[in-house]
Symmetry: C2
Subunit: 199 residues, 2 copies
């Protein structure tokens, strides 16, 4: 015996959320139906709107419903400096630290040969060309201090050096093995100011 | 600075799920948009269908998209025995224990004067009448062994005794302070067979 089909279907669909197992999915479905049907309708609509409208910024690859995201379109920001991060959450974390006024490039991942993720999947070919063509003075590598993040930073520093651009890596302060998006603002600010050129 | 409006809206809407704070909501939204847009669309549709179609069985109050749920409509089940539980998850737990072939009544909660939840909110007035009119022989009280669950069982046993119906409470086996839906099937089966009439 299971729940009725519509309820069972909702429970199974909730499993698409990360960290949600069968028991949590059941608890969520029953909670929504018993206590928050308005919330369920709202969530349904927000999901549809998000999927319909949100794509990637053509310049920085960040998630946005605009063709060019607000940060890339902001002419008050320093276009000669680009900070490379792994995810949209990292952009938010850096922005909230208030320590950076340049532009971004969002990899939407990191190099991972084992998963078949190469430089083209991260848009690095286009990124390298753009850096050279647009007269970028400095690229700050803010990928995570994990094995894959370090490898991605190493790959980029190597590829960009031949293009004659200054490449730096954000400094200590971001704990090793940690993830950028969970670091507090002042630690991140410190990491930015203490950045050093990669030899 | 925040995310783009559609993304921010999705993150906020995900907070309607129990146990989901700001950080989890952000992680869920980014996961869906970066890695599982099909899952997001599916979830959106399932939520809408569930809210549109799922109501309460007119007989037992369980969640169902039918007027009379499958269990109440199943003529092979013993109509002379009714098991009273707090939630739809409890019905599922009892069904999966395989120890019970009667009908149910689902309170969708428990008596809680402090929250203003009285007998009418749980449909107990209609339930008492139905028990008397339909010649029910036994009512098994399977509310949770919590303060509120015990109080609800006590209230029902009191109200039903005057109607001349046998009232029993499921036995030990369900740990005190625990919740019925998390108890394994064999413990529940034991609790059913060891039930005793309330004096
Ligand atoms: Zn952009
Ligand atoms: Zn029913």
């Amino acid at each position: 015996m299971k729940y009725s089909p519509a309820l069972q279907g909702l429970i199974e669909a909730l499993r698409c959320l990360p960290g949600v197992g069968p028991k949590s999915a059941q608890r969520m479905a029953l909670h929504l139906l018993e206590r928050d049907r308005e919330g369920a309708v709202e969530l349904s609509q927000r999901l549809q709107v998000a999927v319909d409208r949100i794509g990637h910024c053509v310049q920085c690859r960040n998630l946005t419903e605009l063709e060019v995201c607000e940060i890339c379109a902001d002419t008050r920001r320093d276009a000669a400096t680009i900070c490379v991060v792994e995810t949209p959450a990292d952009v938010l974390a850096v922005e909230q630290s208030g320590s950076y006024r340049g532009r971004y490039f969002v990899l939407m991942g990191h190099l991972s040969p084992i998963d078949g993720i190469g430089p083209e999947d991260l848009g690095l070919d286009r990124f390298e060309r753009r850096v050279a063509e647009e007269g970028v003075a400095e690229v700050i590598l803010a990928t995570n201090p994990t094995v894959e993040g370090e490898a991605t930073a190493y790959y980029l520093s190597d590829a960009l050096r031949s293009r004659g651009v200054k490449v730096s890596r954000i400094a200590h302060g971001v704990p090793l093995g940690g993830e950028l998006e969970y670091v507090d603002g002042s630690t991140l600010a410190h990491a930015f100011s203490g950045r050093r050129p990669l030899e």
